[in-house]
Subunit: 265 residues, 6 copies
Amino acid sequence: MTTDLYIAAAGEVRLFEWAYRQHLPVMLTGPTGCGKTRFVEHMGRLLDRPVLTISCHDDLTSSDLVGRFLVSGGDVVWTDGPLTRAVKSGAICYLDEVVEARHDSLAILHSLTDHRRTLYLDRAGEIVTAPETFMLVCSYNPAYRSSLKELKPSFRQRFVTLAMDYLPPDREAEVIVAETGVDIAVAARLVHCATTIRTADEVFGFEPPSTRVLVAAARLIAAGAHELEAAHACILAPLSSDGALVQGLREIAVASLLTPGGTLE
Amino acid sequence: MTTDLYIAAAGEVRLFEWAYRQHLPVMLTGPTGCGKTRFVEHMGRLLDRPVLTISCHDDLTSSDLVGRFLVSGGDVVWTDGPLTRAVKSGAICYLDEVVEARHDSLAILHSLTDHRRTLYLDRAGEIVTAPETFMLVCSYNPAYRSSLKELKPSFRQRFVTLAMDYLPPDREAEVIVAETGVDIAVAARLVHCATTIRTADEVFGFEPPSTRVLVAAARLIAAGAHELEAAHACILAPLSSDGALVQGLREIAVASLLTPGGTLE
Amino acid sequence: MTTDLYIAAAGEVRLFEWAYRQHLPVMLTGPTGCGKTRFVEHMGRLLDRPVLTISCHDDLTSSDLVGRFLVSGGDVVWTDGPLTRAVKSGAICYLDEVVEARHDSLAILHSLTDHRRTLYLDRAGEIVTAPETFMLVCSYNPAYRSSLKELKPSFRQRFVTLAMDYLPPDREAEVIVAETGVDIAVAARLVHCATTIRTADEVFGFEPPSTRVLVAAARLIAAGAHELEAAHACILAPLSSDGALVQGLREIAVASLLTPGGTLE
Amino acid sequence: MTTDLYIAAAGEVRLFEWAYRQHLPVMLTGPTGCGKTRFVEHMGRLLDRPVLTISCHDDLTSSDLVGRFLVSGGDVVWTDGPLTRAVKSGAICYLDEVVEARHDSLAILHSLTDHRRTLYLDRAGEIVTAPETFMLVCSYNPAYRSSLKELKPSFRQRFVTLAMDYLPPDREAEVIVAETGVDIAVAARLVHCATTIRTADEVFGFEPPSTRVLVAAARLIAAGAHELEAAHACILAPLSSDGALVQGLREIAVASLLTPGGTLE
Amino acid sequence: MTTDLYIAAAGEVRLFEWAYRQHLPVMLTGPTGCGKTRFVEHMGRLLDRPVLTISCHDDLTSSDLVGRFLVSGGDVVWTDGPLTRAVKSGAICYLDEVVEARHDSLAILHSLTDHRRTLYLDRAGEIVTAPETFMLVCSYNPAYRSSLKELKPSFRQRFVTLAMDYLPPDREAEVIVAETGVDIAVAARLVHCATTIRTADEVFGFEPPSTRVLVAAARLIAAGAHELEAAHACILAPLSSDGALVQGLREIAVASLLTPGGTLE
Amino acid sequence: MTTDLYIAAAGEVRLFEWAYRQHLPVMLTGPTGCGKTRFVEHMGRLLDRPVLTISCHDDLTSSDLVGRFLVSGGDVVWTDGPLTRAVKSGAICYLDEVVEARHDSLAILHSLTDHRRTLYLDRAGEIVTAPETFMLVCSYNPAYRSSLKELKPSFRQRFVTLAMDYLPPDREAEVIVAETGVDIAVAARLVHCATTIRTADEVFGFEPPSTRVLVAAARLIAAGAHELEAAHACILAPLSSDGALVQGLREIAVASLLTPGGTLE
């Protein structure tokens, strides 16, 4: 895996490490697919700590995080949830897209994010103090400005915030080449196409294409697809279901793909 | 079964196969009844993989997808859900009408659709990595423009998107003949009737008639029904319950059925 | 029982039978009490298939339809629901007032209404293919135009639609006589009263009186009630609780009951 | 008990009895406290059938009506609900304030209120046909015109409707005397007070005082309370919590209590 | 305990006792903290009946009131709830703040509040008739005029209503002295302060300070707090979190505390 | 730990202690992170009582507070919740952010906050009277003025209210130095930066930075981060996700950090 190519500026690495050393929780913000998950995985390797990922969603209860009673052999036995397991084992616990979680589920995190660094398992009657190596990391995408759900300011203030963004074009093209083996010219054209659309994003108001979709397009190209065909399936079609808009985007894409490195195959 | 007649342009077959080879998930879009389900079944035969279909609905929980604890012999035993079974067996897992699902249920799919290709069964404490042959396919109908439910852009970007549409008239008539044995002239008249209504769709704003309803009408005709009677019961009546509108549609239908191949039986 | 008198024009009987032979599901539409349930019972006798009726309501879950796990002898045992029982036994399964059901519960019907004719019991891990004699019939009343609940067009297109209506006055009076033994003149006066109100329906906006309420009124008359007393209790009083409106209806009723066959008893 | 004094005009008794003989369900309408419950109890004695009363409320599920599975000795055993017990025993089943019930719970009544007279216990897999002596009676108060909840017209048409009202003043005073032993002049004054407020009801828009509250006031008077004190506690205070309005009502009450039979004690 | 000092005018005591003798349920109304709970406790001592208090809240189900099935030794055993225990033991059952309860939970009370005096335990299949000494008492605060929740008029008419209010100033000061031992002048100043705010209540629209908060303030003063400090913490600060408003109230308080008996300590 | 540095003016300590001696519950109000939790911990040490903290959230039921029945060895056994444990052991029970709790869950506290000081465990059939040393403390942040959730006035009147605020700048800087070891000049600059933003708070409408975030920033600085880098990650970035606003704040921060003690490192 070439994951480490995703790593952004050294600044984020340093800040993350300082936060880890100071026992401060971290909040990663940035657009979807800009590499937040890979960054956490990278930091886990760097700090030599396992990363335990929890994908947040509307139905995630605090019991899903901390654990619940289960019947076993006729008795009811407490079973730790992933958060409790991460605290006990001193792992990095990564709550992906934390804004999706039911906000009442997040109250359980309060005592872990301040000077107490403690998890209160009220139902189990247990109190777990986090070891030195435990770290809590959350991520969310603040670009969903219209979302009904917003993290509470008091919650966000509990974290050191690292704002991430797309890779610079050169780095992004390198990642695509390393991940898919396509020619650097192809990668550059795909990045140019994405950058054009990202710039137009404020006008159109849709989620811009991520590095992930460029890699997907490059993979289809590596497998034999035409560039435009791959760009349409991976970059343009997911953006909108409005026919006229897709057609306009297609024209942007055609122009972009033609621009940097000559003719389409 | 004459299913394979439904297969659309070779382009979709190629793109689907490339996505399969590159371990990329696929999203099929297109109007209801244009053949998405049959296309997936066709690709399953072509790639020699079983297809496991899950019909999405509002009440589909992530537990319904991944599994749950059930009591057996006094103990609580984990039981895999259909998604987990599909991942473990390396099947093609087809989530039909994914837009209908509770969107929080879909968060469980994130780690399966990126480079991790992994299913985290938090409640069972199990991590399942998908074998090479596992593929995730979803479908939805973007024509429900007024729908309150929309897939999140970040979700849609996780998939290679294949946009499907109705068959061209000649192919559609061939399918009807192959499926029902009616005369090609009858099939052509039914297709003509449907095409006329589909063209009027933007004005009337209802879901246009699918190939499926034409096959149903042809079956009734094969069984002895009058063309207009069958067209009314299968094509017109389901479109609307507004009497005036149905009457207008009926006039379109009569004209359509009379046009291509002479008089009504 | 004189049920068969309710049977409408032969057209509906023929179309229903053809749909049955062609394995197509049927949707019955029409006003409340026009005889949809009796029609299905009649077709069950004609086709020699048992009819399994499910009254739909807001609280009907897909588990209520297909089955659930129940504890028995300490273990959890799967128990088929009425839909599953109907599929396995090849019966006619009649979903009465399907528009009342939670629409997410209806997704379970999709694979039964297309070429698959298959029921996927995801929770039980079982796949049930319908035998030749299985038929799915639904009914709903499109007159509730103001209803918040509407069947999705894609759902309605899965069915052959048979639009039913009130019996013609002569037939309706015959049914009343056959069911209750009242004099034909009495029956004709009740039908005349109902027809007058049905005509006024578009103005007043209430659900018009059904054949069922005329039969109820005739029964009270046969038991000794005055015509106007019976008409008030069975036809007028249930229409509205607005005193002024009921008084207006009462005048219509008095006039109607007096018109066809002379003086009131 | 002097319950039978509550019985209204003979007309309602006759119609109820005819409906019983003809196996038709009955809907009682009328203001709160006008004697609907007592009327059903009276008819039960007259027809020599037990009355099983179910007070409807928002949380009443169909399981509460028909029954549910309960664990007993390790196994799951079906336990009939009150409706099922009433059907099996051929009792009069009285659903008090049916409009309060969750309307989806009422769908279970459909097959009991038409020619089928059958209860389908889908979950238990049992079908119960009602014996000759079973009768379903519902009540509701249509005066709650502003209520968000309204019975569906198609539901109301399933019943013979008997509209009840307050007793005429003389009868009401007789009831009060018989129930409480107060002097007829006291009773007449209380009735006069209530009648005055009932007449003002359309202006003030509150629920008018019922016979029940007059009996309560008379009881307090019989125990030693002043008439005005009792009238205030039982008749006026429950009407409104708006101080000015209560004061206005108090003046009406004082005037009423003074009018018919001389001075206040 | 000096509880009995709270007892209001003899009128309420007499009416409550008459209602008890006549088996009529009682509804206490009045502002928060005016002594409703203590009045019921006082009447329990006077009538020599235990008082069973149930604090009503949104989540109170009818099962919480009447009982439920619990698993014990492998079997399911019915366990009486507090209402059922109160009925069976002939206690005074006090539903505090009944307007807070889910109104559908209150339907269970209907048969206890009319001539039946009976509790129907549908789920347990048991019918409990209340003994002579059972009495149902409810309380609510009608001052929450803006509340979305209002008791239904038909529910309120089931009760003899006793409207309570704050004690007259002299009595209130006596209570404060008796409860806390502060000087009568201090108590008078606190009452004067509260009375001023209560008078301003209609303008400001907040819940006025109760006797309870005056007692709390007097306790802090007895413990050593300054009068203004105690008045701020117990009387003013809980009224509002609007800084400007609290400042205005503070000025009222300062003026009030200075007025009756000289300078502040 | 240097926790005690957080302690605010002696006034709050005295009032809290008097309330404890007088058995009065206390409500702490003030902005997030101003030291409410640490103040309660400090008072626990001062009064030599253990503090039991419960973080309130939307999903907190009264069962979570008082306890529930759990299955153990086949039987159902009552298990005390944290509130019950606190009452029985005479601890200080601290409900953090009580406004977040479901307000219906709070009704269970009523009998603990008045003269009864009693917890009614209706489901367990137990009544627990609090020992002398039990104290109930709640906290909430009234600055969420726009919140849909507000504590009911009658609830707030049950408590002695102690209004807390940020520390004065000098004290706050001392706390930062004591907690993190940074230079007093650095701490002063961070406090100056925070004070500037707090003053701008009324204009911008976001939650102002707390002492907690200043300590976090100082920790990063102590670990090697630039002041501006640390201030951005801990103070500015969590305030808003509006790019323009963050830029404006950044300018305020730069100016603030430059002002008190010279140049940035």
